[in-house]
Amino acid sequence: MTPEKSMTIENETILKVDDLRTYFPTRTGLFKAVDGVSFDLKRGKTLCVVGESGSGKSVTARSILQIVDKPGRIEGGSILLTRADGSTTDLAKLDARGKEIRGVRGKEIAMIFQEPMSSLSPVHRIGAQIGEGLRIHFGISKKDQRERVLELLRQVEIPRPETAIDRYTFEFSGGMRQRVMIAMALACNPQVLIADEPTTALDVTTQAEILDLIRRLQKSHGMAVLFITHDMGVVAEIADEVLVMYRGKVMERGPVEQIFHAPQDDYTRGLIGSVVKLERKAEVRLTRPDIPADTPPLLDVKNLSMTFPSGLKAVDDVSLIVRPGETLGIVGESGSGKTTMGRCLLRIYEPESGTIDFRRADGSTVDVRTAGSSALKDIRREMRMIFQDPVGSLSPRKTVAQIIAEPLKLAGMKGRTLDDRVAELMQQVGLEPAWRERYPHAFSGGQRQRIGIARAIAVNPRLIIADEATSALDVSLRSQMLDLMMKLQDEMGLSYVFISHDMSVIRYMCDRVAVMYRGKIVEAGDTDQVVNHPAHDYTRALLSAIPNPDPRDRRIHNRFRYDAAAAARPVPANG
């Protein structure tokens, strides 16, 4: 398995999927999760399957290994696996519980899953888990097995493999676990690696490391990689070929260049369009006059700190200001304390020190951190929140009208006025007022988020804390939601504190941005300044790790790594 060898047999088709159909029988009929999908997987090449949630991309991957969740089953089509010795097998014809397909799983086709937290067993040492495939498929001796596992750990660049092999998965970070997963997949030298959103649960810097690793291993092993993702940036960075899926059907298939720069299909064009749209500042914000820097701030936070009972200092001496009509972006990776900080501003958590001066409508300022309960109640009418999770933030037992009306009712509105106001709000956020009697379960994620926005603006607030408000949405909905928020900002003179891990969303919408890292703000300034000329090394590392949705300009390979962090902590936790 040398690079030279893989070069000679390049372009050889290993897996040929033809007219694959996987259906799920439901109470109301047949759900066609995969409906006539065909593609070829070639040695040494990466095929990206891209699509939004529910497009059937994961089911396609699972169909290949016959591990589709019940009651789904393969209805038709063929999955032709060609081995190195020239023999072929149609995987679609095999018994899902039979010996033959088990011989293929892990040995000839390996898979890595999205969730590194739950796809590894917490009760076995990682050495045993990686070696399991070797034991099952080759039955090699314990000693040889250990040797091979150590070699694999070295390949996936886990530090100190000799000690790591005897540790448990919970002792590793998410990125490290995903490396263990990859080592497990590589154990039997598979010809095909299926990666089902392997970086979605990871931070962007960790994602860059893992993508890099997969690509390097693919080159050295000469594997074919089937990479499933919803992120067009990732596609542009790693794909050779792309398959665009929508509702179980293939919309377009072609080389990555063509998909990004000359898409043939309308759906693909729309998808690329919505990604590219988020690559620059929103047009409505380009033409808007700047907010004068000497405007008295709406929110003036000084030296805010908050420590959890566990001793974790989640917010560490944070100071920031928000001017009226402005959007302040807070960007950072998971665990940077950005969500905690947002919640401290509303006193959902109790910060232990600092001041949060909020300028009331009458011009007086009040410190939210020390406000009494009745003052806090008033402040919370002017300062509202939009939540990340569009499912958990709406009570499933209330109708849309009840949900939106709740803050109004508590403010004393009732009867006809209340009904009219709810209808007006629903219209304002782009929902049909006729849907008022429906329950949240009848709405899609984007619509639910609109309900959440309607609830937030119901009492005419002046500041809204939006905590990852678009993270749970598909990319095509993301810009719509941001456009809606900016429209409301202009209509109502709102200010936003927009918390996100996604730089493109921040760049699209925010006037100024603050970068958080380990509870501290490491850099703050105008969005253009921070994005184009980052001053802090961490910001540079963060920006350079973001996949660029242009296959002609692949960047993460040459990314900037933030090394100061390694010096500050004993063990490299990420990557």
């Binding site: 919505s274 009570s395 499933p396 009697e437 329950y439 009848a442 709405f443 456009d483």
Partner: protein, 383 residues
Amino acid sequence: MTDITHLPPETGPSLDLRARDIAVAGQWKLFWLKFKKHRIALVSLVVISCMYLIAIFADFIAPFDPNATNARFTYAPPQGISLMLDGSFRPHVSQLKMTLNTESMRREFAPDPQKPVSVGFFVPSNPYNLLGFIPMQTKLFGLTDPKVGDSLYLFGADRLGRDIFSRVVHGAQISLSIGLVGVFLSLILGVTIGGISGFFGGWTDVVIQRFIELLRSIPTIPLWMGLAAAIPVGWPPLRTYFVITLIVSLIGWTSLAREVRGKFLSMRNEDFVTAARLDGMSEIGIIFNHLVPSFMSHIIATLTLAIPSMILAETALSFLGIGLQPPIISWGVLLQEAQNIRAVSQAPWLLFTPAAAIVISVLSLNFLGDGLRDAADPYEALT
């Protein structure tokens, strides 16, 4: 929706009729839709409803006074009803002919086909008050024209010639209601104490949880025995009944309290509860507007599963002779009367009839509770 309008629009709630129904379906409707899919639970619901109806209208359904004795028919066996007589539809039983076996000194009964006794619906009876206040003179079924020597023992008679069927029907009143009353007491205790524990947390929570663990660690039967033994013998039957329900619900509330506490703890940090708090809703408002509706269905399921254990507890106590005492009739009391070798060998119906009633009701309640529990969170499948 700007330059991507050609994308399929954010699909609204789909428009076929069923989906539209679901879209406006509240939690109880969804609950019912999901419950309906659980076949056994549905059947159990019907069975249990019938049993409770029988208990409520026991006076009307039981053909005889459960305490009416008849020395002539000591240990009379069950009589089968024949539907046809002389080629026409005339439901009847055969009169029992009693002979004294001089060797074993036992009464032996044999049906005498020559003497049919006709049976009918809505037969006149001695005046009684249905539910204690509706004066009635009709029974659901019975002998149309009772004469001396006629009898109708569907499930046989006991030592004093009392009709077992009537006694089991009347026993249902006590046995099934003790479960309900007990569960009601458990509900009040469990929700209040569990709610306090989950809501206040901290020391209150620790004290309450340790107390619950202490209670649960005491072996139940000796505890009940000790408490039941403390009931003065001279107390009127009704008061004894209430004390017994208190005793059996003493343990029952603990599991409910834990359930409620767990729900409280998990719900408190849900985003929609935080949202309500930010809307300015008071803690009490949050509890009654958001928390209680969220775990109501879970509580109902837990309660349903708690009823059988109450019924069994009463039965166990009465069977041991320390629960209810005659003349009160409960299934446990009936079992206790069958507690001798003679009953088992010569009159097994004394044992099997109340036992069957207990098994059917407990099984049905358990299946019903399973179905309710599965349906308790109707949103899992939808979201």
